[in-house]
Every structure is written in C-alpha cells, then in structure tokens.
Amino acid sequence: MNVILIAMILALLIPIYEVWQDDDIWQKILAFSSIASKTSVMILVVSVLRGDWMIGVVGVIILSVGEAGLMLLAHIIKRTNEQ
C-alpha cells in the first residue's frame, strides 16, 4: 500500500515541477488538470485500500467537479486573451 502511494506522490511531483518552471498560462492549466485528476485518483485509491466508502464518494465528486471548474477557468482565461 505504501509503495503504491509513494509512487503516486512521485508522479504528482512531475506536474508540480512543470507548473513551477513554465511561464505559459496554458502549460500551467494543463499541469493543473493533471494534478486535479491525480489527487482525486489518489483519494479513490486510499478509500479502496482502507475500505472507507465515505472517502470514496468524496473522491468521485471531486473528480467530476474538478474538471467542471477547470473548464470554467480555461474559458474565462481564453476570453481574456482574445480581447
């Protein structure tokens, strides 16, 4: 269980490094979407390993709602760049 989660944390560090060193706003949004999906999948893994379905339901909701918020943010920034 520990090995799986440590590997997932290391994978999560890749987009965090990307968002830190890249100045392009679209690269940052891509990294944000990657982090949002990875964290919710980690929540799902933890919930399955612990057998705690309350956390599992929260993980599913975060997984679906996070993408919706990302689409809203991307759309607003796209409208800003158009002028």
């Binding site: 269980m1 520990n2 989660l5 440590i6 944390i9 999560l12 965090i16 968002v19 830190w20 100045d23 706003i25 940052k28 949004i29 990294a31 944000f32 982090i35 949002a36 964290t39 919710s40 980690m42 929540i43 933890v46 919930s47 705690d52 309350m54 956390i55 339901v57 929260v58 993980g59 909701i61 975060i62 709602v65 996070g66 919706a68 918020g69 990302l70 809203l72 943010l73 607003i76 920034i77 409208r79 800003t80 002028q83």
Partner: protein
C-alpha cells in the same frame, strides 16, 4: 503504524502554498490556487475529514477561482478613449498603430489589459474622461486646435491625457514611442458616481 505516506502527502501542502505566494502574475496565481485547493482536498481526505475535503474542492477550486478570475479580468484593465475613425487604421506603419502596440506592450508588462473605446468626436471624448468612463484619451493634435493644423509634421502628432497619476508615471518612464505627448489631468471626485 504503516501510514508513513501521510507525511509525504502533507508535505505537498506547504510546497504548493510557497509556490502560490511567489507568483507575480495574477492569472498564474489563480491556477496555483486551484492546485493548492486540489492538494488540500487530498490531504483532508487522506486524514479522514471527508466533509472538509468536499467543501475545499467545491469552494476552493471551483467557486473561488471562478469569482477571482472574473474580478481580476474586470479590474486589471486600462481603458483608452480614441476617435472612431482612428480605430479603422489597419496600416502597420501608421504612427497610431505603432503607438497602440507600444501601449499594449507596457500594459502587458504590468499584467493590464488594454481596451480601446471608440468615441465619435473630441467633445464626447473629453466628456468621457471627466465622467471617468475611460482612464485616458488619445487624440490627434490637429483635431484639438485648428490653428495648429499647419504643424502636422511636428514630432508628436498625438496627445494623450491621463487622469490616473500612477498610470501617468508608468507611461512617462516606459513609453518609447515618440508619437505622443503625455499630460496628467486630475479629475475631481464628483462624490456620487463611482
């Protein structure tokens, strides 16, 4: 207790927070805030607080980001009033297009958005500046005083009036285009209109 991975997950939270605080560009900071919200939701869920994690995901990454994006978009803007027939210029070597391109570079350096509002004649342009509809007006000098129309070949064919002291200071130090003359016009507070 074999929960040592919890320490690694919790360590991500201050890392994301430090990255958020060193951001200068407001739009990049918004994206970083979303990342911080996602990581915080992960930490809360792993520590067993499912309700807190749900609230953080809904409010922190969706509602706050959307509201702040709208607020940043509508407040970080520099509105310049220009004459309608100036806007129809498409020639790249025309001094007006070069001046606007120069202003746009300066504005993007300060993360501002440049908005050009067209007005039909110099009187309504002046009125708009006094009523705080625009932050600055940019107008050809020959339109201002007819007797100077003969001096069209002078080095500063445009006249830019700015009503905000800070914008005036920025433009005075950074503007490289020789096409315009800058003046600062303080507009008194009317007390009723904001």
């Amino acid at each position: 207790m074999d929960d040592s991975y919890i320490y690694a997950i919790v360590a991500l939270l201050p890392l994301a927070a430090v990255m958020l605080t060193v951001q200068v560009n407001p739009y990049n900071a918004l994206v970083m805030r979303g990342i911080l919200g996602a990581i915080a939701a992960l930490v809360y869920a792993v520590l067993g607080a499912a309700d807190v994690a749900l609230t953080e995901a809904l409010v922190g990454t969706m509602l706050a980001i959307t509201l702040y994006a709208v607020a940043v978009r509508s407040s970080l803007v520099m509105r310049i009033g220009v004459l309608k027939d100036e806007l129809s210029q498409t020639n790249d070597s025309h001094p007006f297009t070069q001046l606007i391109a120069n202003l746009r570079t300066i504005a993007s350096k300060y993360y501002l958005r440049l908005e050009l509002l067209p007005y039909p004649d110099p009187q309504s342009l002046d009125q708009a500046l006094m009523e705080k509809e625009v932050h600055a007006t940019c107008i050809e000098r020959s339109q201002l005083d007819i007797q100077d129309a003969a001096q069209k070949s002078e080095p500063q064919p445009y006249h830019t009036a700015i009503r905000i002291r800070r914008l005036y200071n920025i433009l005075q130090t950074e503007l490289t285009s020789p096409a315009t003359h800058l003046t600062y016009i303080p507009v008194p507070d009317s007390g009723e209109k904001h």
